[in-house]
Amino acid sequence: MMHKLITTLGLLGLSAAAVAADAVAQTEKQATNWHAIIMFLIFVALTMGITYWAANRTKTTADFYTAGGGITGFQNGLAIAGDYMSAATLLGLTAMVYTQGYDGYIYMLAFFAGWPIILFLMAERLRNLGKFTFADITAYRLDQGKVRTMAAISSLTVVCFYLLAQMVGAGQLIKLLFGLDYNIAIFAVGLLMMVYVTFGGMVATTWVQIIKACMLLTGGTLVMVLAFSQFGFSYQKLLESATAVHKLGPKLMYPGSLLADPVTAISLGLGLMFGTAGLPHILMRFFTVTDAKQARKSVLYASGFVAYFFNVIFLMGLCAILIVGQNPDFFTAGKLTGGGNMVAMHLAKAVGGNMLLGFLAAVAFATILAVVSGLALAGASAISHDIYARVIKKGTATEAAEIRVSKIATICLGFVAIGLGILFEKQNIAFMVGLAFGVAAAANFPVLILSMYWKGLTTRGALWGGYGGLVSAVLFVFFSKSVWVDVIGNKAALFPYTQPALFAMPLAFLLAYVFSKTDSSVRAGKEIEAFEDQYVRAQTGYGASGAAKH
């Protein structure tokens, strides 16, 4: 099981979410865990209270999409960290360090390294040019109708793949951690998410993220400190004992087979780095802060929390090798009870008893809920702000109508998520997160970065680049081993690599370049001319939408 998990991951070269999704796909229902349920109910009560409070403050579209643009850099940094670190980070990466040692740490660096790049090249321009969705930036000087439709389609594609992976993972995890029925878990996540987003909009979603991030940081730190104290906080001592008992022995701290193939390694690195910079729910967070100054601070805080937490997880995984791996209580028939992803949970129980186990389980549930809410809001804004207000109504929709559409869209997305979650219960959906990152890196990122940096981008080029990236990323994954062989059941993959980014991203850039360069229409000329003003605004922030005036 553990081996299968790691091989699958290695082959797919996916994000850690894949670990959770894959491993929990074969879990069995556990006894009802009351500690966890009570602690989770406290979390729900607290966040419902915040949603009630937020509902009174959510009146305009700006409130709904971006919390009125009044979030501080520190709050937003926590919320970004909350958005970025899913339950899979906590459970999947701990499990990965536990089984593979150093490889888990390499993955974490790949997850982290995109953040400095986002700060240096994107954060302030995003804030200076965008209002509610990243399509505001790509469509800034291009054809509103066509470019927005494209950006909305690729956003929704990313959101749906990501939601599906989260929902199935959530159902399995909750079944495992709380002993609840799969369908009940799916409905609980879907319905709670609808309440947060429809009533509280971005204000409630942000606070759910912040609370969850604090819980995650606290819970993880507590487990790590308690576990590490058993080794007198000595890395030397911990590693001496760990390498002595681990099946990898001294090879524990060697890079293993996960990234041995250079093409996969580079493609994965590109996908994780630039996929992060193309995820609609992450990009949206940059519009919630007051100005470019706060946008930069958000990245500083977010990357600090992420880097800190990854190192905590690394130590947790190493401690678990001894504390969990050497304790027969946590094994059933020679295998880890509950599956590979339970390492972090068993560790919590071993060092802190049922209370800490319950707390960490509640953290995992809260985490899923928070990520799903952020995704749903990003999806709903693509439907209401981009498609309804700008494409269909061409900017004539009233704020009230636009908010109503986003709420309806949120509820629809909630039911879509519940439906997909139930439909895909038995499927291996591990490739979904990889697909989401791949599409984000190939369809969203190239057009977004070109629209900010390259004067010559025209509507025709943007459409070719965006749709080209979207279609090629989906096709590359479809014909790769993860779908063509593992899901459809064919013998050999038509496309040899499981990571699309290295191939689909350059293709998207190339298409955007060629079709812009050969575009000699009058409109193209005007679009290129309009870059000058956009450039000054991107640099200075003059004319950028400020914080809501109330």
């Binding site: 030397q236 701290m253 250079p262 100054k293 990357s303 200075t540 003059y542």
Partner: protein, 106 residues
């Protein structure tokens, strides 16, 4: 109206100065991060054994872990460095540019 403002800002030599200084700083930092990260990925792919060596005789700390921990801290310090300079020097310059464009208005 705002197009006139943008035109004034663009022709302000301070704007060129801002773009040049910030561009150079941001790209330098980005290149440092990208080089170190992809250099590390290459080491993982082509020379994994070198990362498994201990930093000193008898130490359990390996070169790979030490280098990665260094990158976690170093990359974060680079973000702090950028935020510090951007939030003081670059933002100050930006405010001057906007203010001067407004002055011409009158």
């Amino acid at each position: 109206m705002s197009s006139v403002m943008y035109e004034r800002m663009r022709t302000n030599p301070k704007f060129q100065e801002l773009v040049r200084r910030r561009g150079r700083f941001a790209w330098t930092l980005a290149v440092v991060v990208l080089t170190m990260f992809y250099g590390f990925v290459m080491l993982v792919a082509f020379s994994p054994a070198s990362l498994g060596q201990p930093v000193a005789e008898g130490s359990m700390l390996t070169v790979g872990v030490a280098f990665e921990l260094f990158m976690f801290i170093f990359f974060w310090l680079l973000t702090a460095l950028y935020v510090r300079r951007a939030n003081s020097e670059f933002d100050g310059l930006t405010q001057e540019i906007v203010k001067e464009a407004w002055k011409e208005q009158k």
